[in-house]
Structures are given as structure tokens and as C-alpha cells.
């Protein structure tokens, strides 16, 4: 009997050995994973009431910590909430944080490695912890202008960057929301607002990626710039090539066909130069190029402009990956070449493609954070522009620029023309099924000979006429606002 008692004791000890192992796993080995789990509120709660650094645009805070209640010393406040919601995100107790509040969270809370010495001194001096502030590249006037150019009730995005440095000058989208509603200490009110906002079409607070960096849209004809680059890069085409321009291209292996836009000027000619095809945005020449070069050539060119990739670590905003699909049959390839079917791009992607053309084929990393300052205003880090990838050669970029300029001077993008300035541009109209509604695009840069600003505008779900009014003429206003400074 005693032997059985000893065996039972061994069994009990074995169970306890498992317990010791499980505790070690949870508290030491697997602890980092658990601490980093997005459902884990402890890190936020620990610093929720601390004095967080401000997010500054043009010298003024757009997100700052102001005096809170006695139980929670500081409250996050957004001074121009809807205008910057897509950039700042929110910092909340119950719903975590998004946008820069999340990606720059360690810096804003004062927990980043760069602030290590500051933390030590705070500890010894007994001061309350204080975070670093973050100064953005945004131009508040351009940001405001861009925001107002999207009518209320209209879904759309505008991205304005400096193609030489990658600095983001404006980045807006509608619908927007008021992050103060989510950041309030009143958790019940925050939860109610959260649920209410998620009912608004176009707002999804559960998704951390949205707006200009997250909305994947059919690019339509702006994708033709990629076809053009691929064609010139192949060596099979040059600036004088005459492209086939039938009014309708039968799609191989299918009974359908791909037409040129019926109401436009394309159908006056059976063949077209690149210049004419881009000016009038004819479909069939570019479909023919794609069928000629094959899908791999188009996909590789798209990847060089950023499809299937991110835009680097300097933007500090979550990015959706733009898509040029794999394994297309010939009919799908023809439609993909004009930015239809399953080709999807973010407004940021289209802007970066444009900026690469403007910058002689070199794509710069988009960036949003200019400087990070310690609580004593000492600069901790300052941004240096970095090249991301080479999208095309300088001669090809120059050639495309020339054609984009004539699209504004003589073609259907002429609404973007600015008196006294050479503007390069390209419009796009991506059909949304058979609804008659489109995603209407403009992307371009100015001055064409000395690019300082790249503008991308997309208005979602509009008819052709209002799409045309909301894109190119608005781009003109942004060009003027930036260049007249």
C-alpha cells in the first residue's frame, strides 16, 4: 500500500511540475507575446492618464493632452478633429489607439528608446512622465483646402506630396469623424459613439487601415501610365510608335469586347500615337500593348511603382497593398491594362506612381513625421528623405511627363491647367459595374519641368460629369495653393 501511496505522490508532483512549467511559460517565455496582444489594454491603461506628447502641424497642436479630471490627470484632445482624424487616429481607453497615436505611441507616451535618459531623469527628479511631441510634414492650409474640396456627403480622398522628398503635404478623406468622441474618458459614451460611427458607410473603426492609405479602388485609366512605362521599357515601342486604336477590341477567348469611350475623341482615328492615346485616354491602344507585352511585363512594371509592396517605414500609417492580380487570361489582361477588373490601388499608390514619374523615375519614401522633440523641445530625430525604389529610367519618366503635360494642355485633363505653369496630369474613370457610377481620378504634378507637388484626387461613386468637375479643377486649386506660397 505504501508503494501505491508513493506513486500517487509522484503523480501529484508530476502535476505540479506541469503547473510550474505553465506558469513559467505565461509569465516569462510567452509574456512578450501576451503583452503585445492588441486586446491587452494594460499598456494603454498604465499610461492613459499621463501627459502625452502633442502631434503638431504648422506649429499648432492638432492632438494634445489637456488637463483631465482628478482621477485621470490628462485627457487627449483633438483640436481639428475631422480634418486630421485620418492622420492622428484616436487614443482611447476601451478601443486601443489608431493612426499616429498608435504607430508613434511609444514616442508620444515617452517610452521610446530614444527617450530612455529622459525617463531616468524623470524617475530621479520625481517628475511626472511626459511624452515627446511629433511635428508633421503637413501644410495646414493645403490640408484644409483639400478637405474642403471634397463635398460633404461625397466619398473621396486627396493626397498631396512633394515628389522630390516624399513629404506628405496633405492627406484627407471623407467621410471623416471626430476622434474626441472615442478618446473621451467616459467609456460608455465612447462605446456608444464607436458603435454609431461604425454605422456610417465608409467608416470602419475596427479596421486600422483606411482612407488614402487603405482604400483599395479600381484605378481606371491612370493605370495607363504604367502600361506606357512598360511599353517604353520593353524596347518594342518608342515615342514615335503608332498604336492600333480600333473603336472596340475583341477580347481573346471571350465573346465580349473592350471599347473606347463612346463619347470621346478616340474613335476618329484607327491608329494613335502615345501622345494622342494618353491625351484622349483611349482604351484599345493600351489593351493592345498589354496583350503584346504579356502580363508579366505589366505586372513587373506595376511592382516597380509599388503594387504588391508597401511604401516603407517612414509614413507611420498602416497601408493596404495595391494589387495587380496573378494568372490572368488574355481577356482579363486587356481589361486589367486599363485599370479595370481586379486591379486595385490606394490613392497613396497612385500618388507615389505619379511622384516617381515626376522625380525622374526614383520613388521617394512617403513621410509624415518631420521631427520628434523631447519635452524640453530638443530635437530627438529629424527626417531625412530616402529613395525607396527606382520605378523607371529618367528618359522614360521624362517622356511620360511630356505626354502627361500635353494631356493637360490639349487633352481631357485640361481642367487642371494652371496659367503660367506647366502641369502634367492624367485622369481616370473606373466604371463601378453597370451602375453608371465611377471612381473618378486625377493624378498629376507641377511644374512639369521642376516638380514640386504631386496631387492625386479620387472621388468615389460619381457620374461622369460631376466626376470631371470634382477632380481636375480641384487639382488646379491645390497646385495654385502650393506653388503660390
Amino acid at each position: 500500500m505504501n508503494q501505491a501511496i508513493r506513486s500517487s505522490w509522484m503523480a501529484a508532483v508530476a502535476m505540479f511540475a506541469l503547473i510550474f512549467g505553465a506558469i513559467s511559460y505565461v509569465q516569462v517565455i510567452g509574456a512578450d507575446d501576451l503583452n503585445a496582444n492588441p486586446w491587452n489594454q494594460r499598456a494603454i491603461l498604465a499610461s492613459f492618464c499621463n501627459d502625452r506628447g502633442a502631434i503638431i502641424v504648422g506649429g499648432k497642436p492638432v492632438a494634445e493632452s489637456v488637463a483631465g479630471t482628478e482621477s485621470c490627470a490628462f485627457q487627449r484632445k483633438y483640436t481639428e478633429p475631422e480634418l486630421y482624424a485620418g492622420i492622428t487616429g484616436y487614443f482611447s481607453k476601451g478601443f486601443g489607439s489608431t493612426g499616429l497615436e498608435q504607430s508613434m505611441g511609444d514616442t508620444l507616451a515617452g517610452n521610446s528608446d530614444q527617450l530612455f535618459l529622459d525617463r531616468i531623469s524623470q524617475m530621479f527628479l520625481g517628475n511626472e512622465p511626459k511624452g515627446a511631441s511629433v511635428e508633421l510634414t503637413l501644410d495646414p492650409e493645403v490640408q484644409k483646402l483639400a478637405f474642403d474640396l471634397i463635398p460633404d456627403g461625397q466619398r473621396g480622398s486627396i493626397v498631396v506630396t512633394n515628389p522630390r522628398t516624399g513629404a506628405v503635404l496633405a492627406m484627407v478623406s471623407k467621410p471623416s469623424y471626430d476622434p474626441n468622441l472615442i478618446a473621451t474618458h467616459d467609456t460608455a459614451a465612447a462605446a456608444a459613439s464607436y458603435a454609431e460611427l461604425n454605422q456610417v458607410p465608409g467608416i470602419n473603426l475596427n479596421q486600422n487601415v483606411s482612407g488614402p492609405t487603405g482604400n483599395l479602388l479600381s484605378p481606371g485609366s491612370v493605370f495607363k501610365l504604367i502600361d506606357t512605362a512598360a511599353a517604353l521599357n520593353s524596347g518594342k515601342y518608342n515615342k514615335d510608335s503608332e498604336l492600333p486604336n480600333p473603336s472596340s477590341l475583341p477580347l481573346p477567348g471571350s465573346s465580349a469586347s473592350l471599347p473606347n469611350y463612346a463619347g470621346g475623341n478616340c474613335n476618329v482615328r484607327e491608329t494613335a500615337s502615345f501622345a494622342f492615346a494618353l491625351e484622349q485616354s483611349c482604351n484599345t491602344p493600351f489593351a493592345s500593348i498589354a496583350l503584346d507585352l504579356g502580363q508579366d511585363a505589366i505586372r513587373q512594371q506595376a511592382q516597380k511603382f509599388g503594387f504588391g509592396e508597401t511604401f516603407g517605414d517612414q509614413l507611420k500609417l498602416q497601408q493596404a497593398i495595391s494589387v495587380f492580380p496573378e494568372d490572368l487570361d488574355q481577356a482579363q489582361l486587356a481589361q486589367s491594362a486599363v485599370g479595370q477588373r481586379d486591379v486595385k490601388a490606394t490613392p497613396l499608390q497612385i500618388n507615389m506612381m505619379t511622384a516617381a514619374i515626376a522625380n525622374g523615375g526614383v520613388q521617394m519614401k512617403p513621410n509624415l513625421v518631420k521631427t520628434v522633440r523631447a519635452p524640453d523641445l530638443r530635437v530627438i530625430s529629424e527626417l531625412k528623405p530616402e529613395a525607396l525604389r527606382t520605378s523607371t529610367t529618367q528618359p522614360i519618366a521624362g517622356q511620360i511627363t511630356e505626354w502627361m503635360t500635353s494631356a493637360v494642355d490639349n487633352g481631357i485633363a485640361k481642367g487642371a491647367a494652371v496659367p503660367g505653369v506647366k502641369v502634367a496630369g492624367k485622369t481616370g474613370t473606373a466604371e463601378l459595374g453597370d451602375s453608371g457610377l465611377n471612381n473618378s481620378w486625377f493624378t498629376g504634378f507641377a511644374p512639369a519641368n521642376d516638380p514640386q507637388v504631386a496631387v492625386t484626387i479620387v472621388m468615389e461613386g460619381v457620374d461622369v460629369l460631376s466626376g470631371a468637375q470634382l477632380t481636375s479643377p480641384n487639382a488646379k486649386k491645390i497646385f495654385e495653393a502650393v506653388l503660390n506660397k
Binding site: 501529484a12 509569465q27 516569462v28
Partner: protein, 475 residues
């Protein structure tokens, strides 16, 4: 084992010193909690600490008088655990909450009952007379929560509580003891029969079908608890208790095999039929999937929040009163282990688990040392029950196994659990008293004199499990 030819030593002074140490743990923790909650060491603190100390010393005095050879380590361990539990429960009390004081009241009641058991029972062997009464009492206690009028209804998905005046009580906790008494009594009387009859298949000897009676009963009770009370934890605990006691009585591993097959089969069927079991398993395996995390009731939020807390505590913990255990549901009862992990860290939790390990080890020591089969079985069963209960609770909190609603002995808030566990401690102390004391050759009342053929200090060996070393065995 370590029994020597020297005269037995009471070692009560060692116990006294250890109790002082144990009180330092409990009262120290309580002081930290009071200081951190900004009330400081107020009158409540001194009053509560004194009460605990007085009760512990009173218990010690009773042992000096009534069971002076009792194991000197058991009582200090339990005082330390209980004191720490009081501090932790007090720490979780918000303004207006009275759980801490309620737990202190129950501690005093439970210690008083335990003292009474030692004082009036004098010798655990008397309990053997109540073998079948214990079975009836167990059945009665287990059925109580199902009787309308007495039952407190379904609380948090389980029907294990009854209403006694303004309080609720969990009779299943006491049934744990009465069932152990029944099995110890039944098996110590019938083990020869069970041992000798049977059929050998391969290397294992399997029992006759009719000897499976107690095993079938055990299985039925466990399944009954699971089906009617929806209490997976108690079901596992009872079944583990039975398997161990049958195994110790017969030394046959075949019983363990049969038992494990039965429990696995029963568990599988239960997981197929009963949603509460399926939910437990689902929120164990898929704890980190959003649907399961957000599901209410039956989701994994409780487990995951507990894990977050323990991970936050890390090696050394946040310090008592410095963590955020308010994020963990039931941090002062079912999840008190996560609270310890968070605020006292891996080191603190290891120390607590080590106390349990020492506690059940001393229980097994008493089982080895005592000379009667009934006492061996009872001590072994109760000790194993403590170990298994800790395993089920801590394993559940750390996501080693599915989380079930068992209490952490002596730590978790809950009167019935405290009462039952203090009675177990009383019984273990009594058994250890006979194990460590001089051989009791006096006859039990109404029993013929014991055989004196058994040399008392002869080391017992595993080869002779039924060696005639038991003073009261041959009636």
C-alpha cells in the same frame, strides 16, 4: 520512511515558530494592501490581523493538548495561505465591498470547526464506523442544490449552491470529505476481496465485474454532478479522488487504466452533449480567436485577461496593490491565482505553489506513517484531492487545461471551500498525529484488543501492502 528508533518528538515549538513566520506573510501582505490603498494601518487592519493571529495560536494550543505529535508544518502552511488569501481578497474589495471581512469570518468559523473536529473526534479511526452514513450524507449533500426551495438556483451556469438564510453554501465541498471517508472505509474493509479475485489479461490483472461496484458508483456520482449540477471541476475532482483511493487500496494500475478510460469516455460524451462542457473546451483551445474572446457567456475573456495580468506581472510582479487585476473577472475567487501572478510575480506564485506542494506532501507523509489502512486511504485521498484541485485551478488559469470552476484551497473567496479545506486539515493533522506519535495500542472503544504482533517502528515496505501493522485492522 524516515522513521527511526528514537522516541517520537512532538515538535510543537517548531510549529509555533513557523506559525509566527506564516503570520508574518499574511499580516505583512495585509499591511502592504492597507498602505497601498491609502487608508494606512488603521484599526480594521490591527483588529483583523489580531483575530487571525489569535485563531492560529489557539489552534496551536489545541494541538498541544489533543494532538501533540501532529505534523508541525501543516498548520503554518495553511495559516500562511489563508492569511495571504485574506490580504488578496481585501485588496480586491472596492468601497463598500465586504468580501474581505466575510472571508475573515468564515476563516474563524472554519478554524473553530476544525478545532472541534480534532477536540471531539480524538482519533480519525472512529470515522470508519460512519462509512455508510458518509455515503448517505454525500448523496444528500450532492442532491441538496437540486431541491427547489433550498437550491440557490443556477449561478454562473452551475447549480452547486444552496441558500442558508442570507448566505449561499456549496455542499459539494463537504461532500468531498464524506465521499473520501466512505471510500476509505469501504476499501479498507473490502480490499482483500477486490485484490484476490480477478482475471489476468496480459500483464494486468483486471477485477471481477461485481467488484467494479465502487468504481461504477464513483463514475455515476461524477457524471451525475456533471449532468445535474453542471460542475465540470467537481466532477473531475471526485473522480480523481476515487481513482487514487482505489489504486492505493489495491496497488493495481489496472484500476487507474479503467478509471482513466471511463473519465475520457465520459468526458468525450459530455463534450458532445452538453454545451457548457463544449464551451469550456472551445474557449481553452481557441482562446485567442475573436469570436470566442468576445462570446458571452462561455467565452475566453476571463482566461485571456488573466493571462494578460500574469504576463504583465512577469518575474517579480507589479507589487501588491500596483497591478490591474480589476480587469480580470473574479480576480478574488476563481482567478485569484492570476492575481498572485500579476502582483507577486512568478516568484510569488512559485512560492505559493510550493506551499501547496509541501502541504500535500506532508499529507502523503501522514498516509505513509499511519498504521491503519483506513487512515492511509483517507490521508492519501484528501492530500491528492488538494493537489488535484490546485492542478485543475492553476492549470485552468494558465491555459494548461480547460478552465473549470474550482476554488483555490484556502486562498479563494468562499466560505464553503474554506470550511471544507480546514476540516481536511484537521483530519490530516489527526492522522499525522497517529503516524508520528507512539504506537497506539489501546483498544478502540467496543473493539477487541489489537494484535501486538506488529512491531511499531518496523519500516513499512511496499512489498507487503497488507502487512499486519494496523492496530485496528483485525476486528
Amino acid at each position: 520512511m524516515i522513521q527511526t528508533e528514537t522516541a517520537p518528538k512532538p515538535r510543537r515549538n517548531v510549529e509555533l515558530a513557523l506559525i509566527v513566520l506564516a503570520l508574518a506573510v499574511g499580516v505583512g501582505a495585509s499591511a502592504l494592501v492597507s498602505i497601498n490603498s491609502d487608508v494606512g494601518l488603521d484599526r480594521d487592519f490591527w483588529f483583523q490581523s489580531s483575530l487571525l493571529a489569535v485563531a492560529a495560536f489557539a489552534f496551536h494550543m489545541v494541538l498541544r493538548l489533543r494532538a501533540k505529535y501532529a505534523d508541525p508544518v501543516i498548520l503554518p502552511i495553511v495559516v500562511a495561505l489563508n492569511g495571504l488569501g485574506l490580504a488578496l481578497i481585501h485588496r480586491m474589495d472596492g468601497p463598500g465591498d465586504d468580501t474581505g471581512n466575510n472571508q475573515l469570518r468564515w476563516t474563524l468559523i472554519a478554524m473553530a470547526v476544525s478545532i472541534a473536529v480534532i477536540w471531539f473526534l480524538k482519533d480519525h479511526r472512529i470515522l470508519r464506523r460512519f462509512t455508510y452514513i458518509s455515503l448517505a450524507a454525500s448523496a444528500f449533500l450532492l442532491i441538496l442544490p437540486l431541491i427547489p426551495g433550498i437550491s440557490a438556483g443556477e449561478i454562473l451556469g452551475a447549480r452547486v449552491w444552496i441558500r442558508v438564510g442570507p448566505m449561499t453554501f456549496q455542499p459539494g465541498e463537504i461532500a468531498k470529505i464524506t465521499l473520501a471517508i466512505f471510500f476509505a472505509g469501504y476499501l479498507s474493509s473490502n480490499r482483500d476481496l477486490i485484490l484476490l479475485a480477478g482475471r489476468k489479461i496480459g500483464p494486468m490483472q483486471f477485477p471481477r465485474f461485481k467488484d467494479l461496484g465502487p468504481m461504477i458508483t464513483a463514475w455515476l456520482v461524477s457524471i451525475g454532478v456533471l449532468v445535474f449540477q453542471r460542475d465540470l471541476g467537481s466532477s473531475i475532482l471526485f473522480f480523481g479522488l476515487f481513482i487514487v483511493m482505489i489504486y492505493v487500496a489495491t496497488s493495481r494500475i489496472s484500476w487507474v487504466v479503467i478509471g482513466l478510460l471511463l473519465i475520457l469516455g465520459g468526458g468525450f460524451i459530455a463534450s458532445q452533449i452538453f454545451s457548457h462542457v463544449a464551451f469550456r473546451i472551445d474557449s481553452w483551445i481557441n482562446a485567442f480567436t475573436p469570436e470566442v474572446f468576445g462570446r458571452s457567456p462561455g467565452g475566453s475573456g476571463q482566461i485571456v485577461q488573466g493571462l494578460f495580468g500574469m504576463a504583465d506581472g512577469g518575474l517579480v510582479g507589479t507589487g501588491l496593490g500596483q497591478g490591474r487585476p480589476d480587469l480580470v473577472p473574479f480576480a478574488n475567487s476563481d482567478m485569484i491565482v492570476a492575481l498572485i501572478g500579476e502582483e507577486l510575480g512568478l516568484i510569488g506564485l512559485f512560492a505559493v505553489v510550493m506551499l501547496y506542494l509541501l502541504l500535500f506532501t506532508r499529507g502523503f507523509r501522514a498516509a505513509l506513517g499511519t498504521r491503519d489502512a483506513f487512515g492511509k486511504l483517507l490521508a492519501c485521498g484528501l492530500s491528492f484531492a488538494i493537489a488535484l484541485q490546485c492542478f485543475v485551478v492553476i492549470g485552468g488559469v494558465t491555459r494548461l487545461i480547460p478552465l473549470t470552476g474550482l476554488t483555490t484551497p484556502f486562498l479563494a473567496a468562499g466560505g464553503s471551500s474554506l470550511l471544507a479545506n480546514w476540516i481536511i486539515v484537521g483530519l490530516l493533522l489527526m492522522i499525522s498525529n497517529t503516524a508520528r506519535g507512539p504506537v497506539d495500542t489501546t483498544p478502540m472503544v467496543g473493539k477487541p484488543p489489537a494484535s501486538s504482533s506488529a512491531p511499531a517502528r518496523k519500516p513499512t515496505t511496499g512489498q507487503t501492502p497488507s502487512a499486519p501493522t494496523e492496530a485496528v485492522k483485525h476486528q
